[in-house]
Amino acid sequence: MSDQPSFLAPAETTDSALAALVEALLMASDAPLDLAALQRMVGAETPETALLDALRRLQCQYDAHPFIDLKMTTRSGESTWQLAANAQLAPYIARSEPPRAGRYSRAVLETLALVAWRQPISRGEIEAVRGVAVNPQILRTLTERGWIRVVGHKDTPGRPELLGTTSAFLTDFGLGSLEQLPAFDAFVGQGALDV
């Protein structure tokens, strides 16, 4: 073994350096990255297999980390990676200042669900299904959270806004695409009604 250190060491170094580079890029990025994005940043001369090796290396490294996971999500057939803290961190984060929004009221969730399943949807249509007026604060909450946005206007008098979900909605709920939402009609009969 002692006659080969010069071969082993650099390869080892390169591999771990590439993993460290991928790690830093994932951390520095605001959104999950796919292989193409990683390759654009790392350099085209690095083959995808090397990137996948680096990701596997990171996977092992973070499997041992009690609070951080390397998450892979498939988005329209394309895998994306992201480093994220897991639920173990939640109790600690809950004590942060200012507190982070964790829970949402049923009104907020029902409105979000309608926008997600029935988009593009107008406020009037939301009110028709829920049977109550939409509190503007609900839409503001969801907009500020970056989950819904105005995607157009209806061609009816008053030109009401049409709402849809954002890509941040997909990312934050760990969805690859809207197609991963179950069919809306499939929801009847799922257990007892919970009120």
Binding site: A84, A113, G131, V132, L193
Partner: protein, 281 residues
């Protein structure tokens, strides 16, 4: 379905005029602990109605409207006695239930031909089912591991030159809203002449100016597009006249009945100068 509504921790703690309400109406079918849910949790009349139906394990597809109506009205009466401001939606639902009930009491006219007898409950059932689906969908969504609750975005500070940022993107709808805003303010200040023009004239005006940008001038008939027919010629003519009126073009005619030559009024180099600047920017 793990409950997010915490119905296990229900304790009726209702105050009337600052005093705890101890005596509930005796004929109330609904358990008193439901009262606190009612006060805090119901998202509207559909939610309340669904609760009443589910509480009794009633088949939603065969709602006993009379019974449900009775209970619903009892609830409303109770809410009223607790001085809870009743939203219009609840009263509307009560009216709807009462209507369905009265229609069910009326004798059915014999069905004509093979026409299906339409059940007055059908629309209500449909809305209730749609709402019930929604509650399940919302619950399903809430159970997904969510950023900010079950996992957290990680980031390191990046104080490094990134690629130049791209300019913001605009949707056409945003432009329309901008125009709408202008109109709204225009109504308040209302100092402008009101006049509507078809866009095609405006578009054609820009096209003509574009032609003049590429050449010192064009003959009038080059402006027309024969394939557009009479309407197109009219649009072009109006565009030419509009441009002339706003002093953006000049006409030159060597002699009577000679072809009309149109030129831009600006020195061409000025126009090209600004174009070149634009391209280099």
């Amino acid at each position: 379905m793990a409950s997010s509504s915490g119905s296990d921790a229900l304790t009726a703690r209702v105050l009337v005029d600052g005093q705890p309400l101890r005596q509930l109406p005796l004929d109330l079918y609904i358990p008193p602990d439901a009262l606190s849910i009612l006060l805090e949790r119901f998202e509207g009349p559909l939610d309340l109605l669904l609760y009443l139906i589910r509480k009794q394990n009633l088949d939603i597809l065969a709602i006993p409207v009379a019974e449900v109506t009775r209970q619903y009205l009892t609830y409303l009466a109770l809410m009223e006695s607790l001085k809870i401001e009743l939203a219009a939606e609840y009263l509307l639902m009560a009216a709807w239930l009462a209507e369905i009930k009265s229609r069910l009491l009326l004798p059915m006219p014999p069905p004509e031909n093979d026409e299906e007898v339409d059940d007055p409950r059908a629309a209500l059932v449909e809305r209730l089912l749609a709402y019930e689906r929604l509650t399940h969908a919302a619950h399903w969504l809430d159970e997904l591991p969510r950023a900010g609750r079950d996992w957290f975005d990680l980031s390191i500070a990046v104080d490094l030159p990134r690629a130049l940022s791209l300019p913001p993107q605009i949707e056409l709808t945003e432009l329309l809203s901008a125009l709408r805003g202008l109109v709204r303010r225009g109504e308040l200040t209302a100092v402008h002449e009101i006049r509507r023009e078809t866009l095609s004239v405006r578009a054609r005006m820009t096209d003509i100016l574009g032609l003049l940008e590429q050449a010192d001038g064009v003959f009038l008939d080059q402006v027309y597009r024969p394939q557009e027919g009479r309407g197109g010629v009219a649009v072009s003519l109006v565009a030419v006249l509009e441009l002339a009126k706003s002093a953006a073009i000049d006409f030159i005619q060597e002699q009577p009945f000679a072809p009309v030559w149109i030129t831009g009024t600006a020195a061409t180099d000025t126009v090209f100068g600004s174009t070149a600047k634009e391209n280099s920017a």
